[in-house]
């Protein structure tokens, strides 16, 4: 149980002369909740895209369950148990909420009514079941985010990658999401989240990784990290005079 589930070793991503991710290494173990934080432009989303397969690393390795997955496209990673959300939610607009979730649940349920049952269960999980037959285009921002989570959950993943899934939500919605993720985590789902909101990170994650200018500058518990002077400097800038 304690061997690393997701393993990142010396990951580098360069875009021409720009090094967006510079020699980052970390592990995520089964059942953990790990957050990646960092100021704007630190390379969080680039790092995230290396994990989802949206981008391929220039150097270094990403492995899942001991298998190097550097070259695998996103759909293959999804089949290996990697669920994800997008920073800007990508609902399938002309489909209903239920159909959106079914696009996910069809991965492991090839029969229509099995996929429908699983999808409906996921909508209940995220609290969207009363909106099951509403087209995604008519859903509110927070509903779209929950739909995104439902579609990813319907894949029955073992690792969930969440990209700023709380952005734009109000206090109670954030709390609902935290409760949902804690409940899923209790059921054995591993989480790696990118989060801007430090309150969320404090309330939620067991381990925090801090990225600044493409490099990992700190790693530890939320308490350790939020009092780390280097992290404070990265976020607030250096005290002058």
């Amino acid at each position: 149980m304690s061997e690393p589930f997701l393993q990142v070793r010396g990951a580098v991503k360069r875009f021409g002369g720009l090094t967006a991710v510079n020699d980052v290494s970390f592990d995520v173990r089964r059942g953990e909740i790990v957050s990646i934080i960092g100021p704007n432009g630190a390379g969080k989303t680039t790092l995230f895209n290396l994990l989802t397969g949206q981008l391929k690393p220039t150097a270094g390795d990403v492995s899942l369950n001991g298998q190097v997955i550097n070259a695998l496209p996103p759909e293959r990673r999804a089949r290996l148990g990697l669920g994800r959300t997008f920073q800007i939610a990508k609902p399938l607009l002309t489909l209903t909420a239920l159909e959106n979730a079914m696009v996910g649940s069809f991965l492991h349920h090839s029969r229509l009514h099995d996929a429908e049952a699983k999808a409906h269960q996921m909508l209940i999980e995220v609290g969207l079941d009363r909106r099951a037959h509403v087209r995604a285009a008519q859903l509110t921002l927070s509903e779209r985010r929950r739909l995104e989570v439902a579609r990813a959950l319907a894949l029955e993943p073992s690792l969930m990658l969440l990209d700023e899934v709380m952005a734009g939500l109000n206090q109670s919605e954030v709390q609902d999401s935290i409760d949902l993720f804690r409940r899923l985590n209790g059921a054995g789902l591993t989480f790696l989240i990118i989060e801007h909101n430090l309150k969320v990170v404090r309330a939620f994650s067991e381990r925090v990784i801090v990225i600044d200018r493409g490099a990992k500058i700190a790693e530890g518990t939320a308490e350790q990290i939020l009092t780390n002077p280097e992290v404070v400097t990265a976020y607030l800038g250096r005290r002058r005079g």
Binding site: E75, A78, L92, L98, F106, E116, A132, V134
Partner: protein, 345 residues
């Protein structure tokens, strides 16, 4: 989970799409719908002018349904389906002429060929999006037209192929024109049936996902290219069967007819657009609206000057583009929603 429970789980008026219906109800609904489309045949079976129009309507309804599989559900707006139509027509006619192979069997090689050729020629094109894809597939149509003119040994060149009138069931040549009408009706019914089964399958849902957002589809474990290729194979094969039937109906095929954009390649798209792309009934509604109207206008105004019927038809399409963005099927859907709102208010 009973799907009837799902359908009634939410009493709010915001439920335009409804739940997923059980098979029996879907089958019944569409069977009744198809029977309704038989009414014009029964009413006009003695009038050969209208019978011909109805025959074409059924055929083109089936063809529009076939096109809609990749273009409407999959969002890949192909203008190259004339190629598959022509391959089907030439294959069926050629096999009948050279080896006396019954067209009933001769439909299959063309369909199989298109299930292979379609994915092969669309593969490189699928990198292109939207109108760029449409233009590239349009180019296939034009290249194929040149090839068909050039390959005289296969296509008969510009003069085309003539199938002699030897009436027999096994030759798919009938003295009673109503037989063709029934034949085209069956083709349309099969195409609609395939669409229904498809849209209740994993591939159907994946097609919609690919149309809506390729990145989201990939994140759901969907191989985008595989989904597009499979739907192309199905769509192209059905189109080829339509081409084979067309060849046996008019019994004279030449490149300018088969690769005509306004009458074949673009027409599939037009019928679906007018009727409602990405729906099962839309392409059929489009064909039932446009084919009779076009034929009627051609007959009535054909004498008063060349192209007058096209001007009138263009005007109808302009109105449709302005006031029915989602086609007839979309407009009916909006009306139903409106009605449901008023009833619940």
């Amino acid at each position: 989970m009973n799907s009837d429970d799902l359908a009634t789980a939410d009493p709010s008026p915001n439920r335009p799409a409804g739940g997923i219906l059980p098979w029996r109800r879907v089958a019944l609904l569409y069977a009744v719908g198809l029977l309704v489309t038989l009414v014009p045949l029964l009413l006009l079976s003695r009038n050969f002018f209208w019978l011909n129009i109805i025959t074409y309507t059924y055929l083109f309804a089936g063809l529009a349904v076939a096109w809609n599989i990749i273009a409407g559900f999959g969002g890949q707006f192909s203008l190259g389906h004339g190629v598959f139509f022509a391959i089907g027509a030439y294959t069926t006619a050629r096999l009948f002429l050279d080896w006396e192979i019954s067209p009933w069997l001769g439909l299959l090689p063309g369909a199989i060929a298109c299930a292979v050729v379609g994915p092969l020629i669309f593969w490189p094109t699928f990198r292109l999006k939207g109108s760029f894809f449409a233009i590239a597939t349009l180019a296939f149509n034009e290249v194929a037209l040149v090839l068909a003119n050039y390959l005289e040994s296969v296509t008969g060149g510009p003069r085309g192929l003539q199938v002699p009138f030897r009436a027999a069931f096994k030759n798919m040549i009938f003295t009673d024109p109503r037989a063709y009408t029934v034949l085209m009706f069956v083709f349309m019914a099969i195409a609609v049936g395939i669409s229904i089964v498809l849209m209740r399958s994993r591939l159907g849902y994946y097609l919609l996902a690919v149309r809506e957002d390729e990145d989201a589809a990939r994140a759901a474990g969907i191989s985008v290219i595989q989904v597009k290729l499979r739907a192309t194979a199905l769509s192209a094969a059905l189109t080829a069967i339509g081409g084979g039937l067309f060849a046996m109906y008019i019994r004279t095929i030449d490149p300018l007819t088969l690769f005509s954009l306004p009458d074949i390649g673009v027409k599939f798209a037009l019928l679906s657009l007018i009727g409602g792309m990405g729906t099962i009934t839309g392409p059929v509604l489009g064909a039932f609206l446009i084919i009779p109207l076009e034929s009627y206008l051609r007959a009535v105004f054909g004498g008063s000057g060349p192209g007058v019927h096209l001007i009138l038809l263009g005007f109808v399409m302009l109105l449709a583009a302005l006031f029915m963005r989602r086609g007839v099927a979309g407009a009916i859907d909006s009306l139903r929603q409106h009605w449901r709102h008023r009833r619940s208010a």
